[in-house]
């Protein structure tokens, strides 16, 4: 009989399934790309308005991308499916809008106010929702967000109710030393990009921090993470709140961009939109949410200009994406590159 090989049998010769980052030519490229993901994302976004059909749409995509990014922190990286993110987007938008319309705050302060309001809503919802799991978590967040929706709906004096909040007009942004003409769409785009870029950078830091690693562990196996010594509930809550803050910032930017806040911003359909964008782009990928937001918006926008039956095509394209690009667009691109480089 043959002598058993030392070490584990398959160690020699057999190819391994999981690619090791940094091996192979494409592998090296990918490793490089992932190290500079923030720079890459920003580089893309800097040239984006010249590719998009019009600047207002480009700003929308930025804002929705940030929104999907915030959502992705929770679903893609922590494994918590929330259907309540509209409350954060809306909270940020209303917070910012109310600060400007009713209190005449400086737009920059209003952005902060919006983000804070969203953070507060997220903390309140999170404390309650974290008690449940899985699909029940999704539904609890949905229910709570709808309660927030109705609260804002009814606070007509502040929010304008069904008619939405109007009059968030910021024609020029006065900053120490210079003025920005926000009525110029290009200026507006880059102003928004500056804020989104900052948030993306922070997000990237967060992901590569120990906290980010712990979130992934929680996604994989909550019980084991707890046994390892992680305070799972608290970490989930913190992730929930950070995610809410990012979405809130997106909402605040959207309020300034559109100069109105429709109540629809808070409706669960908007939460669904975050899910769709994140899935389209690629769950748990860094760049995916922006790709998802861009695809989602461009599809709807482009098709609805072409035909009034655009929903048929959007639906069909969705189906095709799921069947043929299960990892999402960006996720699939990454996977293809990996395979090709192996």
């Amino acid at each position: 009989m043959s002598a058993p090989v030392p070490g584990h049998a398959l160690a020699q010769g057999t190819p391994l399934a999981a690619p090791r980052p940094g091996s192979g030519r494409t592998g090296r490229w990918l490793a490089l790309a992932s190290r500079h993901r923030v720079a890459l994302t920003l580089a893309f976004l800097v040239v984006f308005p010249w590719v998009a059909p019009y600047q207002a749409l480009a700003v929308n995509i930025l804002v929705l991308g940030l929104y999907a990014l915030g959502f992705n922190l929770l679903f893609g990286y922590t494994g918590l499916l929330s259907f309540g993110h509209a409350a954060f987007l809306g909270g940020g938008a209303y917070g910012c809008g109310i600060a400007i319309v009713h209190y005449g705050l400086h737009p920059v302060l209003a952005l902060v106010a919006g983000t804070l309001l969203a953070t507060f809503i997220a903390a309140a919802m999170g404390v309650l929702a974290i008690r449940t799991r899985g699909i029940y978590f999704a539904m609890t967040t949905l229910a709570l967000s709808m309660c927030v929706y109705y609260a804002f709906y009814r606070a007509e004096a502040f929010t304008g109710g069904e008619n939405g909040l109007r009059g968030i007009n910021v024609p020029v942004l006065t900053l120490p030393g210079f003025l920005l003409d926000l009525l110029d769409p290009v200026v507006k785009y880059y102003a928004v990009l500056a804020v989104v870029g900052g948030a993306v950078w922070l997000f990237s830091r967060l992901l590569s921090s120990p906290f980010g690693a712990a979130l992934k562990a929680i996604r994989e196996n909550e019980g084991r993470a707890q046994a390892c010594g992680y305070d799972v509930r608290r970490m989930k809550l913190v992730a929930f709140v950070i995610s809410g803050a990012l979405c809130g910032l997106a909402g605040a930017l959207q309020a300034i961009h559109l100069s109105i806040v429709p109540i629809e911003t808070m409706h669960y359909a908007t939460s669904g939109q975050a899910v769709m964008m994140a899935l389209l782009g690629g769950m748990g990928t860094f760049f995916g949410p922006f790709i998802g937001a861009a695809t989602f918006s461009l599809l709807q926008d482009g098709l609805s200009t072409l035909t009034s039956h655009w929903q048929l095509f959007v639906g069909a394209i969705f189906i095709a994406f799921v069947l043929f690009l299960p990892l999402g667009i960006w996720g699939e691109v990454l996977a293809r590159l990996r395979r090709a480089g192996w």
């Binding site: 009989m1 043959s2 058993p4 090989v5 584990h8 049998a9 398959l10 057999t14 190819p15 391994l16 399934a17």
Partner: protein, 251 residues
């Protein structure tokens, strides 16, 4: 290697299997004749489980030949094997969460009476009788029929997994490390039970780390390594082989 007369009940020829892009089985060949107990041994990661899973049709990509009772089953869907009389006790027990012990057991015989939902009251009674019989063999299960199965202790779950596979009185059972987590006194009983089953005509293919006991009950042994069979002999021969004793048995 083939030995004489009766055609083997299970014949595996040059079986190769992959998980995604990893090529795990590099060409496994083995045979089990009706009424035999055959054991696979080998290091962790050698490919024993993959061999059993391939036979059961649970590995996504597989090539080669697997014949059972004279018919090629390699590409048949997994559920068909059950109807041909092949049962499988997976490693790590795979107790279905959310079901009670009794329901897990019932699951083992449901399909035997002609598919889900088609059974009438009479076969319900049949079911109850089988559960009664099996529970005699594993008294611990009998006390716990209404308990949610996943909350059972490790050893109890292992018993349940075995009992479930035996519910439909299979022609042949594939057992993946059945003694894992079972207390010593019961391990012995269990192996005695295997011998009894063999006497009653059930054929057994066993993967086992408790090599000493396995050698005692087996007719023949295959040693698997690196995704292939590296050695094959009657059990008695190995029992007397000091090198084997040293490498595989002593703890």
């Amino acid at each position: 290697m083939t030995t004489a007369a009766p055609a083997p009940l299970l014949a595996v020829e040059n079986l190769r299997a992959w998980y995604g892009h990893s090529h795990i089985l590099q060409g496994v060949s083995l045979q089990v004749r009706a009424g035999e107990i055959v054991t696979l041994v080998g290091r962790n990661g050698a490919g024993k489980t993959t061999t059993l899973k391939s036979i059961m049709g649970l590995v996504p990509k597989r090539e080669g030949r697997v014949t059972f009772a004279g018919q090629d089953i390699l590409d048949r869907p997994a559920h068909e094997r059950f109807h041909r009389g092949l049962a499988y006790v997976p490693e790590e027990r795979r107790i279905v969460p959310g079901l009670t012990v009794e329901e897990n057991l019932r699951l083992g015989i449901l399909a035997a009476r002609g598919g889900p939902g088609r059974g009438g009251r009479a076969s319900r009674r049949d079911e109850a009788r089988r559960i009664e019989v099996i529970a005699e063999t594993f008294p611990r299960l009998k006390q716990r029929l209404k308990q949610e199965a996943i909350t059972m202790s490790g050893g109890e779950q292992q018993m349940l997994a075995i009992a479930r596979a035996l519910m439909a009185e299979p022609v042949m059972v594939l057992l993946d490390e059945p003694s894992e987590g079972i207390m010593p006194i019961l391990v012995e009983e269990m192996f005695e039970q295997f011998v009894a089953m063999k006497r009653a005509g059930t054929t057994i293919l066993l993967v086992e780390q408790n090599v000493e006991l396995a050698l005692d009950v087996s007719d023949r042994v295959y040693i698997v390594d690196g995704g292939a069979v590296v050695y094959h002999a009657p059990a008695a021969e190995l029992r007397d082989d000091p090198e084997i004793q040293a490498r595989y048995c002593a703890v």
